[in-house]
Amino acid sequence: MSALSLIYAALFYAATALFVVGLALKIRRYAAIPAPLKIPTTPAPTTRGGVALRMLREVVFFESLFKSSKWTWAFGWLFHAALLLVVLRHLRYFQQPVWEPIVWVQPFGVYAGFAMVAGLAGLWARRCLVDRVRYISTPSDHLHLALLVAIGLSGLGMRFVAPTDIVALKAFMLGLMRLDIQPLPADPLLLLHLTLVAVLMIVFPISKLLHAPGLFFSPTRMQVDNPREARHVASWAAALDK
């Protein structure tokens, strides 16, 4: 077994562990901290079902962002929708046989690769061109975009410019899942692509990428508007009533 395969196997085990454990710890913390007061941004749904629907609109359509800025919404939604397709397309590297829906998604996933990079380019352009967004952008904001663009471009490069041995790659990935390390093709573009994806997984739980789980715990979006009908008291606040 080559050193390269071992290094990348170790990298992916570590990245996966950090991603899963880091995210789980964050989610556990969000869930454990009480929201002592009712603070839904109103008008808000008055039932749990209504809240589920509000959340669904936020997650699927980015409803609030649509109200706020059409350009940011267009680029942001394009990027996220494309990313979803690209991730679905990549599931084929982890399955044998490949699920039927994942087979269907393959051709769309290719175009989504371009859409994803286009969306990112639009978002990045805002950071440079709009003075307000330029003012709030930190080095880490630019690096996040650079990371995602580089992942997208290296992936597209392998699809259209310098193909790698995807059969061997799939064997490597399936092997990882069985703790049976297989040889990894040594193409530079592939190694770059995989390294960047591992970096993305590692930074996820310690960066602004936490906006993904954060949305589901945002009291202004997930609370039901029923303060007059039901008494809502956090544990630490209930102690004051005694």
Binding site: P34, P36, T42, A44, P139, H211, P227, R231, L240
Partner: protein
Amino acid sequence: MAAAKFETPALKPYPVIPLVAEGAMASTRPFVASPQIQGNLGFPGELAEGWEQRAIGKMGELLGRYRSLQVYMDACVHCGACSDKCHYFLGTGDPKNMPVARQDLMRKVYRRYFTFAGKHFPKLVGAVDLTREVLDEWYSYFHQCSECRRCSVFCPYGIDTAEVTMAAREIMDSVGLGQKYSNEIIGKVHRIGNNLGLPGPALENTLEGLEEDVKDDTGVAVRYPMDAKGAEVLLVTPSADFFAEPHVESLIGYGKVFHAAGISWTLSSMASEAGNFGMFIGNYEQLRKIALRIREAALELGVKRIVVGECGHAWRVAYSFWNTLVGIGAGGKDPFAIQLQSQLDGRYRQPMHICELTWDLIQRGALKFDKEKNDDRVITFHDSCNVARASRMGDMPGGQFLIPRQIIQAVANNFHDMAPGTIGEATFCCGGGGGLLTDDLLELRVKGALPRMEALQQVVDRHGVNFMATICAICKAQFTKVLPYYGFDMSMVGGVHQLVSKAIRLGDTH
């Protein structure tokens, strides 16, 4: 003290997002609370050795107490959706008045002390130590936020800068850096019973005077009772209603509504204030302690219903927080809540907004109006931020927008709304909310009113609007002060029940 000179922004025919003007409002800050004012609330009198560690300790405590704060510190992606939404940014161009930048003042400290990236790569993520300079910047810019929640409507994650501002003020109070205006007022509530420091006998005097005025005016003996045990309704209203113009016109209106509907009611000298500045400073214990006065008054007077007068953040506290804080509401299963909830009449919403009460009566045909009495007015309605985005009226989401407008249209003939992006959930704050209604922040208040003034100018030009109705004591006081800066008459602002008062039929004169 002579206020520094500043220029009132020019009203433009259509809204323009200003270019970033760094440092434009850096020197704006309210007066600091004296050690005595701080002491009255149990806060340290001034910054003392080791305040940095105590502030970070407090931040850690709040992060574990409020899910909102913890999630909002982590979730922001700097997308800029909120960057052109704050009236203070639109009015001043100071980039630290963009909600995201205001939050970042705290976020950069949070990152430094509570996150892996900030501890090890501070430059990369913009993390900084909590120094005196940073604290001063907090003091400046967390007192340039009116906690109006407009940003939270537009944020894709619902990040509410008000939550961050409240936490920042709470942290500053806990290390001895408090704001004079808010903390002095909270002291007055505890000492005297209301924000304006009006003692009981003065209130009774005022109410007697009102009864005489109304009698002279209408020939009808409308009562304005104080501490009447056994009354059906306890009305809790902002203390400005007792004497400030135009506020008192609405108080007169509430009394006429109760009179015409034959509902017995009372004010309370103990609970002579609906406002709750505990919210402005983000202090749960103060918020609760101030709300407890209402509970005590209700229990003592034996009332069946609790109704709240025209006041924005007071209605937020009443509607959203009272049930949590002191059990005014329904659904409580603990002895503390049950004690009060078994006394209150479950057939009515508890607490109820005066607009809900009036609208219910109108729908039942219990009130009659001579609408033409308001014909000299062309009316528009300013949605107060805390009513719009932090509360509700009626049974339907959005009832807080419909009900006041329906009342206006039931008592007057000429009504025109302002532009869609400036009302409803997207309404602009008056510029004086959240503990900023003080003359040491006059420049901020005038500039922060710009977006509302532009929207008003538009309906003045198009429809000849000459009256802006609103249901908030702070909005009324702020506009009375600020309208003249933009060339409007200060008497253009008034309450919804001021209009009700003018048109209502009181029945036979006695």
